[in-house]
């Protein structure tokens, strides 16, 4: 824990009861400061929209929260335990079992069919093919794309592909879903339907959602929003 965090700053404890909390996150890339003391917390089952101008640090924040990118300093706790300094292997196990991911593009394996794509995370966790594909099929149905179950990603529309990606992210029943511009490439009707399905499914499963978006209509599906500016988070509840 001390090696990657030589001078962990004295930070305020995470708000009580938060599932995932970060405080004082710093991350620089060369000359660029991507995060400059960002604080964030999310409760179980909560949907939080992360907004802010392009380049403000939203994706970097999401990547740090999800343990994909290591911050230069700051604290990150999951279920009350510090995770920022965990070894790579433990972090990736945490990601595989507790977290789900949806990005804007290119996340499905092109060689696999849609149902195989959705079943993949379960297979990686050791679930047998038949059971995994049955679970995957029911998620495809829930996201209204069971008709493309045997298509490959190259043979479906952008909107269908995103629904498959949402199904794949939720099939393992993660505690936290990280979504970075999940509807960024869709038209507004499709984008909204995907948001509706995503938030309904997450709420039903008690999955918390960290949703990066620049669209206010998409953010309106959240319970709460924060705005990232210059690598810091502003909690909009403050203005309520």
């Amino acid at each position: 824990m001390s090696a990657p965090f030589p001078e962990a700053p004295a930070t305020a404890p995470a708000p009580a009861g938060s599932l995932l909390a970060a405080s004082g996150l710093h991350k620089t890339y060369g000359q660029t400061t991507a995060l400059d003391g960002a604080d964030f917390s999310i409760h179980a089952g909560e949907v939080v929209a992360v907004m802010g101008p392009s380049g403000s640090g939203k994706s970097t924040l999401l990547h740090c929260l999800a343990g994909i990118v290591r911050p230069d300093s700051g604290s990150l706790t999951y279920q009350g335990a510090e995770i920022a300094g965990l070894p790579d292997q433990r972090l990736s196990a945490l990601r595989r079992t507790e977290f789900g991911f949806v990005f804007q593009f290119g996340q499905l394996v092109p060689e696999l069919t849609c149902v195989e794509n959705v079943a993949l995370p379960l297979r990686l966790n050791g679930v047998r093919r038949k059971a995994a594909e049955a679970a995957a099929a029911s998620w495809l149905e829930r996201l209204e794309v069971d008709d493309v179950r045997d298509h490959r990603p190259g043979e479906v529309s952008g909107g269908q592909g995103q629904r498959v990606a949402v199904a794949r992210a939720l099939v393992t029943a993660p505690r936290v879903l990280f979504a970075d511009e999940p509807t960024g490439a869709l038209d507004s009707l499709n984008g909204e339907r995907v948001m509706e399905l995503l938030t309904e499914a997450a709420r039903a499963a008690g999955t918390a959602v960290v949703l990066v978006t620049h669209e206010n209509r998409v953010a309106a599906y959240s319970d709460r929003e924060i705005v990232v500016r210059d690598g810091r988070c502003r909690d909009m509840e403050r203005y309520a």
Binding site: N216, R217, A220, Y221, V227, M236, Y239
Partner: protein, 174 residues
């Protein structure tokens, strides 16, 4: 838009005569709708009666435009409260919001905070409409969508303005 609050805000940087106030207002906010002198004096006498301004001096030559007004402590508090209170989200807010942003810049208040407060207010209504839409029938959905698109347009304006605060501050001489 509240002419009273706007004139009060313009007085915060120092006492001004009636004609000077009108000129400053027209210059910054009048655009296509300059104030009438009558509006200025009606507004100033109301502010005077409510103790938000006081007469600071009278130039020779009588005439109401010769009165010099100064803002009172109560007036400053009144401007601060107005700037800090978000507008009820409704169509065509731009001129009020624009005025508030410029006055915040001119009086050294945090214009970014003002925009964030308004943003939170707009998004709160968008959330409520989105929730209603999800439970409603097609007619509800279409009605809510109409309101949502208008609110979204306002929000985009708020975002763009937030991104241009530095330039706007220079342009209005703050």
């Amino acid at each position: 838009m509240s002419i009273g609050h706007t004139l009060l805000g313009l007085l915060e940087s120092g006492p001004r005569h009636g004609y000077d106030l009108k000129r400053a207002f027209d210059d910054k906010f009048g655009h296509d709708r300059p104030l009438h002198y009558g509006q200025v004096y009606a507004t100033m006498s109301r502010l005077l009666k409510n103790g938000l301004v006081e007469v600071d001096g009278v130039e020779a030559g009588a005439g109401p435009e010769r009165k010099r007004y100064a803002i009172t402590e109560a007036g400053i508090t009144d401007v601060a409260t107005w700037l800090a209170t978000p507008e009820k989200p409704e169509p065509y807010l731009q001129s009020t919001l624009y005025t508030k942003v410029v006055l915040a810049l001119l009086t050294g208040r945090d214009a970014g905070d003002l925009l964030d407060t308004q943003r939170a207010e707009h998004l709160r209504l968008m959330r409520a409409l989105t929730a209603r839409k999800r439970q409603g029938d097609l007619a509800d959905q279409l009605i809510c969508d109409h309101a949502l698109f208008h609110l979204e347009a306002d929000l985009r304006w708020l975002e763009l303005t937030a991104a241009r605060l530095g330039a706007l501050g220079k342009a209005v001489g703050a």
